[in-house]
């Protein structure tokens, strides 16, 4: 009994040492990927943390474009000319379509910043993603995958997250047509298309998205937002017409209270 308790103490010490030196949370975020939507950024303490991994799930296979666009637009909001790495498998063009630069330019992004990497299979996708997150020069790394991604288990996810932390890049995992699985991501989002604000003559308006925060390592989950993309300001402004959805404005104290709870649950 005594022996086992001393073993336990040793293990505890080891865990403490690991979390102090190499744990995912051990370093403060290098900055924030802000959306420009006031309540969204406030609730997350500034936006999506840089140097972390964030997962974007499409709510439905048909919402793939919305999920991809939200991730890409957040990444394009980073100032400067640093390249944006977008990794996908070679068959993604047939399935979800090719990334179309004129459309990105019309959304206000700079397509010259895009660096597209097409890999023959998911295994190579993961290998290249590991190299890409460790490269410090990029503004963001977007990894697009379709369907289940059994290779991306907890170990692989943790390796990616540690790489992103060490290099200070932000990793956006785009999981299309997939159900959430346990992961080490800082935040996990479900993105769906939202009906746009109507223009004259019943024309579709600016892109609108419904975001749900499925998981957040540093706070409560379950928050929802509706974001409208304003390409002139290059930001996700407050949505027009309707007020913020309930849950979007959560008092700070309540947030703290749930934080410890959800951290324990995670």
């Amino acid at each position: 009994m005594r022996e086992s308790s001393s073993q336990l103490a040793g293990l505890r010490k080891r865990i403490a040492r690991l979390t102090a030196s190499g744990g995912l949370e051990s370093r403060r975020a290098d900055g924030w990927l802000a959306s420009g939507h006031a309540s969204f950024d406030d609730a997350l303490g500034g936006g999506l943390a840089i140097g972390r991994c964030h997962e974007f799930f499409a709510a439905d296979a048909l919402d793939a474009t919305s999920a991809a666009a939200v991730a890409a637009l957040l990444a394009f909001r980073t100032p400067g000319k640093a390249p944006l790495l977008w990794l996908r498998t070679a068959d993604a063009g047939r399935r979800t379509g090719q990334i179309y630069a004129p459309g990105i330019a019309e959304l206000g992004g700079d397509p010259d910043r895009l660096l597209l990497v097409e890999t023959p299979d998911p295994k190579m996708l993961l290998a290249c993603a590991n190299d890409a997150v460790r490269c410090a020069g990029s503004a963001a790394v977007i990894v697009e995958s379709w369907g289940k991604f059994p290779l991306l288990d907890l170990t692989a996810g943790r390796r990616l997250a540690l790489g992103a932390r060490d290099a200070g890049t932000v990793l956006l995992m785009l999981r299309l047509n997939a159900a959430p699985t346990p992961s080490v991501a800082e935040t996990r989002w479900s993105v769906a298309a939202a009906p746009s604000r109507e223009l004259e003559a019943n024309a579709p308006g600016a892109p609108a998205f419904d975001l749900e925060l499925l998981r957040w390592r540093a706070g409560p989950a379950g928050l929802r937002w509706r974001l409208d993309w304003n390409h002139d300001a290059q930001s996700f402004g407050q949505s027009f017409g309707e007020a913020a959805l309930p849950g979007a404005v959560l008092p700070l104290a309540a947030r703290r209270a749930v934080a410890s709870h959800s951290a324990a649950a995670a």
Binding site: L62, P111, E118, A132, G137
Partner: protein, 467 residues
């Protein structure tokens, strides 16, 4: 079917090129035949030429069965012309090849001597004069005319005034004659232009281990980088050639997006390339020479470090691009560039990131307007079933990938005509594009391929997905 090539034994038995196969079989029943494969011959000749690069960088192909080596200034490295030829003969013999060679003052003279010399001569000039006029390789008519005029050898022809030859047998005859005699330059068209920076190492004893070979390559890379630094240049293309002792050679090449003088990076890229080779580097009986060439140089000033420490951040992605391009293939790591056309699927070019030039600026978005071009584009467009008003009405409902979508909002049509000025037959259908949103807020880009006056029953397609 006729004989395309015969070997020495067949020649001795009286077979010749151009003889019908049936005749040849009748004469020599045990004849062994192989189908003629000109492409394979060409490939083999090219490989031999690659192997001959060990003697001189200037190797030219003389199809279908010849190689011209410019050994000026290189022969002494092998102990003289005769020793060089002996070495070459020995290596070719190991590959089962027979060599008929000649040395000459110019490429054309050497070539003519190798192909047409019948009898030995006291010196080169005399040997050239004794060559038959067929060595000029003129048209059959001109050669016959020369023979009819009693001019049997190059020497006979050279004794005549050049102007008369040109007047009677054509300017081609005069030029060919001057080239063989060495009066006119006979330029060599080398298989590969000699690279500006080359380092190489020869081994007395062939090395059979690949790890040892890559160690040597690393040393060569250091030397090449030093050489580059002296020129104030960086390399963008590196080629390592491994010469096997049996005479064949294998080249491995890497490219970088920016000129570099980083030996560690170069070696890392080589390692990446060798790992991804489909057929790994085979030392055979060992490599007896390794050469590292830098065929493409670019200016590269000394690197500047930032004041607060650390190099410029951008460099990180350049290295990543090089590494991924070598692992996946250069066409798999791309940048998008605009193209000047209004056909949507041609409006962007996906070019290899290693050398994608910045061509045109991207269109700037219209302020206050939603995007008119999709985020994802289908190329080719995917056919859909649409319920729409005829002839020019907007779509109401469409079925795509077995799902029905009810359209709530739409904008259009945006009419995009075919580029009639590019096509001779003036063909191509006009497309009417609609930007539509379904009842769940998903936005699509649909088009009808053809107007009703152009086509009886135009089809509908989905071309893209909006954000």
């Amino acid at each position: 079917m006729r004989l395309a090539r015969v070997d020495a034994r067949a020649q001795a038995l009286g077979l010749s090129v151009g003889m019908p196969l049936a005749d040849a079989r009748a004469r020599v029943p045990e004849l062994a035949i192989v189908p003629h494969a000109p492409a394979a011959d060409e490939h083999w000749l090219d490989r031999l030429a690659q192997g001959c690069a060990r003697y001189t960088p200037l190797v030219a192909l003389d199809a279908p069965d010849g190689l011209i080596l410019d050994i000026a200034g290189a022969a002494h490295l092998f102990g003289g012309e005769a020793e060089l030829v002996a070495d070459l003969e020995m290596r070719l013999a190991r590959l089962g090849m027979t060599l008929r060679h000649a040395l000459g003052p110019t490429a054309d003279a050497a070539r003519a001597l190798a192909r047409y010399q019948a009898l030995p001569a006291p010196d080169e000039a005399a040997a050239i004069r004794r060559l038959p006029v067929a060595a000029l390789e003129l048209e059959a008519e001109a050669t016959t005319a020369l023979l009819r005029a009693g001019l049997k050898t190059i020497g006979d022809l050279a004794a005549r005034p050049m102007a008369n030859i040109a007047a009677r047998f054509g300017a081609g005859a005069a030029t060919a004659l001057r080239r063989i005699l060495g009066d006119a330059p006979s330029p060599l068209d080398p298989r590969i232009a000699p690279p500006p920076v080359v380092t190489e190492r020869r081994f007395a004893e062939p090395i059979a281990s690949s790890t040892h070979a890559s160690k040597i390559l690393a040393e060569l890379a250091d030397e090449a980088i030093e050489d580059l630094a002296g020129h104030g240049k960086g390399g963008r293309h590196f080629r390592a050639t491994f010469f096997r002792s049996d005479g064949l050679a294998r080249s491995i090449e890497i490219e970088t997006g920016h000129s570099t003088r980083d030996a560690r990076l170069v070696m890392r890229l080589f390692a990446e390339r060798m790992d991804s080779l489909r057929d790994p580097l085979d030392p055979g009986f060992g490599f007896d020479m390794i050469r590292l060439a830098v065929p493409r140089l670019e200016r590269l000033a000394a690197t500047q470090l930032q004041l607060e420490g650390g190099a410029v951040r951008e460099a990180g992605t350049d290295e990543l691009v090089d590494r991924l391009a070598i692992r996946l293939g250069r066409g798999r790591v791309r940048r998008l560039r605009p193209a000047d056309t209004h056909i949507p699927e041609q409006a962007q070019l996906a070019l290899p990131a290693i050398d994608a030039p910045l061509l045109l600026p991207w269109p700037t978005p219209e302020p206050g307007e939603p995007p008119t071009r999709p985020f994802y584009l289908f190329d080719p467009p995917q056919p859909i079933d649409v319920l729409a008003e005829v002839p020019d009405g907007p779509p109401h409902r469409f079925r795509w990938r077995r799902m029905l979508h009810a359209i709530r909002r739409y904008e259009g049509p945006e009419r995009i005509a075919a580029e009639w000025w590019r096509r001779k037959d003036n063909a191509g259908l006009t497309r009417d594009y609609y930007r539509v949103e379904d009842d769940r807020g998903r936005r699509y880009w649909l088009f009808r391929h053809g107007l009703y006056e152009e086509k009886a029953d135009p089809r509908w397609y989905i071309h893209g997905l909006f954000a």
